[in-house]
């Protein structure tokens, strides 16, 4: 771990207009995240955790404040460059998977590489290797509707990992899964975190949230607690569900 945070958020605020009432989704958030951290972001609905996640993922722009991603000041970047940063360094995992229904598992995983212009042969090889690694070697040519929830999310994770990003942003990754599948998905994400990827998980699930080494809580657009489990790089097996 370096001392230079890969995510450096200073005094970020974001206000949405809901009807004629302003909604302060984020208020003066300060947050530094280092390479390889495992972070859970918890809080009630509307506390701003998804907004913060979108902000980190460069899908949203702050009204004020600064956000440095891997040393790049992002607030003033043009849309094209923000898209490029997102493509190269950030992988999203969604609660409802968001696979493209007409594409096979393999093709879904290839999409990010297709967007970055990687040659078909190279990306096919890479995607099938990754899917095999995640235990989906026999499902490469299947369409999303032929796969179970756990399998779908593993395809989703493969898609997030395929560009070898520095950061994985997971929004309720186990929210639509049964316990067994959820557990498998969590293990996969944690394995990659263990290998050095920064993992940020937004969740309602206390059990999942407590597994993270650093647990952030939000309320009304503010960070209300930042709990860091010291020296807990290994996860106690007793906590596995």
């Amino acid at each position: 771990m370096t001392n230079n945070p890969i995510i450096k958020i200073s005094d970020i605020s974001k206000t949405y207009q809901v009807g004629d009432q302003p909604l302060h989704a984020l208020r003066d958030i300060k947050l530094d995240i280092n390479q390889g951290e495992y972070i859970s972001l918890m809080g009630p609905s509307g506390s701003g955790k998804s907004t913060l996640l979108n902000m980190i993922g460069l899908l949203d722009r702050p009204d004020s404040g600064q956000y440095q991603l891997l040393g790049n000041n992002t607030e003033l970047l043009a849309e094209e460059l923000r898209a490029k940063l997102r493509r190269e360094h950030i992988g999203f995992v969604f609660q409802s998977f968001h696979l493209i229904p007409r594409l096979t598992a393999l093709e879904n995983v290839e999409v990010p590489l297709m967007l970055s212009g990687t040659a078909p042969k190279v990306r096919r090889k890479k995607a099938s290797a990754l899917l095999t690694e995640l235990g989906l070697g026999e499902h490469l040519a299947q369409l999303p509707r032929q796969l179970s929830g756990g399998q779908l999310q593993r395809v989703g994770i493969a898609r997030a990992l395929i560009t070898e990003p520095a950061i994985i942003l997971a929004d309720e990754p186990t929210g639509n899964l049964d316990q067994q599948s959820g557990h498998e998905v969590t293990q996969i994400l944690e394995r990659y975190n263990h290998n050095g990827i920064t993992l940020i998980v937004v969740t309602h699930d206390q059990t999942l949230g407590k597994r993270a080494t650093r647990q952030l809580s939000m309320l009304d657009g503010q960070l209300v607690s930042d709990f860091n489990r010291v020296n807990s790089s290994t996860i106690p097996t007793s906590e596995l569900a």
Partner: protein, 402 residues
């Protein structure tokens, strides 16, 4: 994103919405086909005329009475002049050594009758040179008398159809019939050849030019057809013709000499204009297809919002999303164009095989124009939907909100 990937991605999107893609393909291909098929009729007419002219050879010149003083326009079909072009003028042109045949023509309509059977038809008064210049052949009987230019012999040669109508029961050759107020004897029948330059040769009678002068009571020639010994003599021959006529017409060369190219060009210009405007009207159907593309693209953008949001979160920029949707329409239009082209070329091919009388041919320029118009329409009409797609807010789209 590479071009090949754009194609693949669009193709996959189209293949999934089979019915919708099929309807759009149908609309575009109908648009393209209607342009191609309608222009094929005009082009067929043009080719037909070109063929007619080329059957005359390139060595033909036409001398018309009267002169247009302005240049650069189409040659006049009828000129006006105080001095008629006469049989004597045409005889004088025979002295030009580079000219092999000189056929003076007097044309008019008259009633031809055999007892109770009568028809109003075109009568051509000419000499035997006419047969050489226009490649006419006698099927039965003989040609006009050699002295047709000087003697008003009451004989005639009939087109095949006319002979059939006037003498349904027996052979026409040797029979007598009445043209206007004079009696003529049928000495020959024209071989079947169909239309030539808009004249239905099957339905007309040819008589000696001198007889026609008597029949129509006018010495004025309708025109003179000339055939050169060699096409290269053209400029020189025209000069000589002009010179001779000027000498005979008190110093004024009040004639217009037209070569085959000039006539052909005039025809071509007219027919091209007609064909192009028919094609333009047919292109309206392409615009209708374009509006359909726009509607369907808008629907497609709303249906694929989640996908757009996903693509953006995976690092596609707004302009890439824009391109993805434009490319989708372009791929679709291209397929539609191809189907339309294949469809209309096969149809025209079938017509050519089965109905060889009907001249149809798709001109290359209308294929090109229809394709380009269709693609342009596809692009223009999907521009706004693509812009809408590019503007989708990924956060809302991924959350499933509209």
């Amino acid at each position: 994103m590479t071009l090949a990937d754009h194609w693949l991605f669009s193709y996959q999107a189209l293949a999934r919405h089979r019915l919708r893609s099929f309807m759009l393909l149908l609309a575009i291909s109908i648009g393209v086909s209607s342009v191609l098929l309608l222009t094929s009729i005009g082009e067929g007419a043009r080719l037909f005329i070109e063929k007619e002219f080329s059957s005359l050879g390139t060595k033909m010149l036409v001398v018309l009475p009267g002169k247009k003083e302005t240049t650069g326009s189409a040659p006049p079909i009828y000129g006006t002049t105080p001095r008629d072009l006469t049989i004597a003028d045409s005889e004088a042109l025979k002295q030009i050594s580079s000219i092999s045949y000189v056929a003076p023509i007097i044309a008019g309509t008259a009633t031809v009758s055999n007892q109770s059977l009568a028809r109003d038809i075109i009568i051509l008064g000419t000499t035997n040179d006419m047969f050489a210049v226009r490649n006419l052949e006698i099927q039965q009987g003989k040609m006009l008398p050699k002295n047709s230019h000087s003697r008003a012999t009451p004989v005639c040669i009939l087109g095949a159809k006319l002979a059939q109508e006037l003498f349904p029961a027996s052979s026409a050759v040797g029979q007598w019939l009445r043209i206007g107020e004079y009696r003529y004897r049928v000495i020959g029948l024209l071989a079947q050849r169909g239309e030539s330059l808009g004249l239905d040769l099957r339905d007309m009678a040819i008589i000696p030019v001198q007889s026609a002068q008597v029949l129509f009571n006018s010495p004025a020639l309708y025109r003179i057809l000339l055939q050169l010994k060699q096409a290269e003599f053209e400029t020189q021959a025209i000069k000589k013709i002009t010179h001779i006529i000027a000498q005979r017409h008190e110093g004024e060369a009040d004639i217009t000499v037209v070569n085959q190219d000039a006539v052909l060009n005039a025809f071509n210009k007219i027919i091209f204009a007609v064909t192009a405007s028919i094609g333009g009207i047919a292109a309206i159907s392409l615009f209708v297809a374009g509006i359909l593309i726009m509607n369907v693209s808008y629907i497609s953008v709303s249906q694929r919002r989640a996908e757009i949001g996903l693509l953006k979160s995976l690092g596609a920029s707004a302009s890439e999303v824009h391109n993805i949707f434009l490319m989708g329409s372009l791929v679709l239009t291209l397929f539609g164009v191809l189907i339309g082209i294949v469809l209309s070329y096969s149809l025209v091919f079938l017509v050519q095989i089965n109905f060889s009388d009907i001249p149809v041919a798709i001109p290359w320029w209308s294929t090109l124009a229809a394709s380009i118009t269709a693609l342009a329409v596809g692009l223009v009409f999907s521009w706004l939907p693509a812009k809408k797609a590019a503007a989708v807010d990924p956060i809302l789209a991924l959350r499933g909100d509209q």
